[in-house]
């Protein structure tokens, strides 16, 4: 039998659609744990509450505030059956306050405050979330759970209806480790920051006399040069990274990325045609300010976790410093040993720098042209 039916046509049309619809059904569940008590609020879309308990008493297709108030008892009963909090010592006793309304971008939500009193101080909390089960299996509860000033988040419902949260290990530590790693990874993978720094550090083991580079005779001045450049760069990008991370200043990414490329050109060319020979740390500081905005772009993609914003920012910055320091420690001793050679002074300094400048120039053109 060849198929030709209305049912086929319907699904034909649907087959042609990829993801189409707006926001799926979400509730927002926030809880704060204090000792043996949990204070919280559940925000449930009016649309979802209608499915759950049937708010539209007069069946006119409109839900009014009066209908919501009349259904308060049914709503509380429904929540008692579909939301449970417990700990190993036993169930927590839930009591519900008076429902209010919260307006969100995708419509009105019921805002239902509640308090749970648990048998003992809550060190681990188990949440059983089965709202809209089985009517809408795609419904999820977006949980924000705070304890001792630290917030953790989770998605409740579906196959993860039952979840336990350990409140003893502050998630600050996880945030710290994660952002530290991100910082290290970023400096290693973002070769532009390293090339800028290396361009400024190549001449750190040399000294300019009579329009010629000469090797420094002792380690101390080289070390001081390195220290000044690295410190200036670090200080500068930490300042702007923090400003951008807390949204105090924002720059368009095209501008920062272009100027970062330009900064490498300037730093590298300064080795070939030296203008600034003594105070290269000033270049490091001035352009370091812009590199900070570059780091901030990465951080803004990751976002800063609430409750651990400062810790995450510091961790990311420390990661950047650690990654940078590792490279400096690997490269500079070799540079120091090679500093008297013709290879270092006659080849690496002029031609290596020219190569870096050329590469950065290409980046600059690409980024500026957008």
């Amino acid at each position: 039998m060849k198929t030709r039916s209305g049912a086929l046509a319907l699904v034909l049309a649907c087959a042609a659609m990829t993801a189409q619809a707006h926001v799926a059904s979400n509730s927002f569940l926030s809880m704060q744990v204090k000792g043996a008590q949990v204070d919280g609020a559940l925000e449930l879309a009016v649309r979802d509450a209608e499915i759950a308990v049937g708010l539209d008493a007069d069946h006119d297709g409109k839900v009014t505030w009066g209908e919501v108030r009349a259904a308060q008892g049914a709503l509380v009963l429904y929540l008692r059956q579909h939301l449970q909090l417990s700990q190993t010592e036993g169930r927590c006793e839930l009591s519900f306050g008076t429902v209010q309304i919260n307006e969100r971008i995708d419509g009105n939500y019921l805002w239902q405050p509640f308090t749970a009193v648990c048998p003992a101080t809550v060190r681990a909390l188990t949440i059983d979330y089965r709202l809209l089960d089985p009517e809408d299996p795609s419904h999820r509860g977006l949980l924000t759970l705070s304890a001792q000033g630290v917030a953790q988040t989770a998605v409740l419902g579906g196959s993860r209806a039952l979840q336990s949260f350990d409140l003893r290990h502050p998630s600050v530590w996880y945030a710290f480790v994660e952002y530290l790693q991100a910082g290290i990874w970023h400096i290693w993978s973002g070769i532009d920051h390293l090339l800028f720094l290396l361009s400024l550090l190549l001449p750190a083991v040399l000294v300019r006399r009579n329009h010629r580079w000469q090797a420094v005779s002792q380690a101390a001045p080289a070390l001081l040069n390195i220290l000044k450049v690295v410190t200036a760069f670090t200080l500068a990008h930490s300042i702007t990274l923090s400003l951008a991370a807390f949204d105090i200043i924002r720059l368009p990414s095209r501008l920062t990325e272009s100027v970062i490329a330009a900064s490498i050109v300037v730093a590298a060319l300064n080795n070939v045609f030296p203008l600034v020979t003594e105070a290269r740390w000033r270049i490091a500081f001035a352009f370091g300010l812009l590199h900070g905005f570059g780091f901030a772009a990465v951080l803004s993609e990751m976002g800063l976790p609430q409750g651990a914003r400062l810790v995450s920012l510091v961790a990311f910055n420390l990661g950047v410093e650690a990654g940078q320091l590792a490279v400096v420690l690997a490269v500079m001793p070799v540079a120091y040993l090679l500093r008297s050679t013709r290879f270092y002074q006659g080849a690496l300094m002029p031609w290596g720098s020219t190569g870096i400048a050329g590469l950065a120039l290409v980046w600059f053109i690409q980024r500026a042209a957008g």
Binding site: A13, Q20, A24, E135, G370
Partner: protein, 374 residues
């Protein structure tokens, strides 16, 4: 699970809760099929397949017409007991695969279809859905053989649309377009005509015949005003031709559908329209909610939003790359090429361009985007 990074579930647009001034204040209007009264039909559907299948189809149709993803959830709820049965129920499985596809769970959709086809190999709908999923994934040879299977059980003119649709993506665009244009629509149902016209419109776009494309899209929207897919393609055509004023008219009252809201925002951005702030806010809230759920289904739209509205090309590129890893339609290639170029890293678009070369995919928009060195 602890999610240390990625931020707290944002309540950025949540104002303070309040008590409405009057009992008469309307808080929500309920579309058909979103009422508690229907829960009894859903309960009935748990025991009766002849209730479950049409009910699920109704919900899927509502999702499509209103852009409300909740309806897909209701459809899933109705199908759940049938899908869970150890003995496969093909009618439920095919609808389930459609749901999975619409959530971009493409591998899961293919697995579901395999199960269904194992039980009922002569199911035209299952083969067609399979062809569609494989096509979105850019797996054209497999999609072509699914169309071949489809043609064994379906009407010849429908088979032709399926088959030429793939040929039009794999080096035979001109001939496929001619074959489909010549196809007689006599005796076709509206839904089938819409399918053919949508294919023709997309082919005309890839051929650079914008006037023809416009004709197909208009015809389509006349037959099927709720077809947001065609409406989006038509809006893109108008945006390319800098006819943003017409886009505002075309998309009026369609803001609830995310892909259409995106086009509206792009048009508003081009016209400095004051409505942009609200559209942007809505889109950002929707993208944020998807990210929080861990289901970023609208990455293609998000990449275009970052690129064309917010002018943040590097972030757009990251999203476009993530999108390309999941779906590979010409529009996905296009947003990747555009984002890579704008971000100053055209080499990042290589995966898409290599794919296009390997498949002999021809698309004037892609050629123009890849060739421009602005």
């Amino acid at each position: 699970m602890i999610v240390a990074a990625g931020g707290v579930f944002s309540t950025p647009l949540a104002a303070r809760p309040f008590v409405p001034a009057s009992d008469a204040q309307v808080l929500a209007e309920l579309p058909a099929g979103a009422r508690h009264a229907q829960v009894s039909a859903q309960q009935l559907a748990r025991g009766r397949l002849d209730v479950a299948v049409p009910l699920a189809q109704f919900y899927i149709g509502q999702a499509r017409a209103t852009g409300d993803l909740r309806f897909l959830g209701y459809a899933q709820g109705v199908l759940a007991p049938w899908v869970a049965q150890s003995a496969p129920v093909p009618a439920a499985l095919v609808l389930q695969a459609t749901l999975q596809q619409s959530r971009h769970e493409f591998d899961a959709a293919l697995t579901t279809l395999d199960r269904s086809l194992a039980a009922r190999p002569n199911d035209a709908q299952a083969w067609l859905t399979r062809a569609t999923v494989l096509r979105v994934l850019g797996r054209y040879p497999e999609a072509a053989s699914a169309c071949e299977q489809f043609s064994r059980w379906a009407d010849p003119s429908l088979s032709l649309i399926c088959e030429q649709g793939i040929k039009g993506l794999t080096g035979q665009l001109e001939t496929a377009y001619a074959r489909l244009s010549d196809l007689s629509t006599q005796g076709m149902l509206d839904g089938e005509k819409v399918w053919r016209d949508a294919e023709l419109g997309e082919m005309a776009v890839r051929l650079g015949r914008d006037a023809d494309a416009e004709r197909w899209f208009r015809e389509d929207l006349h037959l099927s005003p709720n077809d947001f897919y065609v409406r989006a393609a038509y809006a893109d055509l108008l945006l390319r031709q800098h006819r943003s004023a017409e886009v505002l008219v075309l998309l009026k009252d369609k803001e609830s559908i995310e892909p259409l809201l995106l086009r509206l925002a792009i048009a508003q951005e081009q016209r400095n329209d004051p409505g942009l702030a609200r559209s942007s806010e809505q889109l950002q809230a929707a993208f944020a909610a998807e990210a929080e759920r861990g289901e970023p289904v609208h990455r293609r739209e998000q990449a275009r939003f970052l690129l064309e509205v917010q002018k943040r090309p590097r972030e757009a590129l990251a999203v476009a790359l993530a999108n390309w890893a999941v779906q590979r339609e010409p529009d996905d290639a296009l947003v990747l090429v555009n984002a890579a170029r704008a971000a100053g890293s055209p080499q990042q678009a290589q995966p898409a361009l290599q794919f296009a070369r390997a498949q002999s995919l021809s698309d004037v928009r892609l050629t123009a985007a890849a060739g421009t060195r602005s």
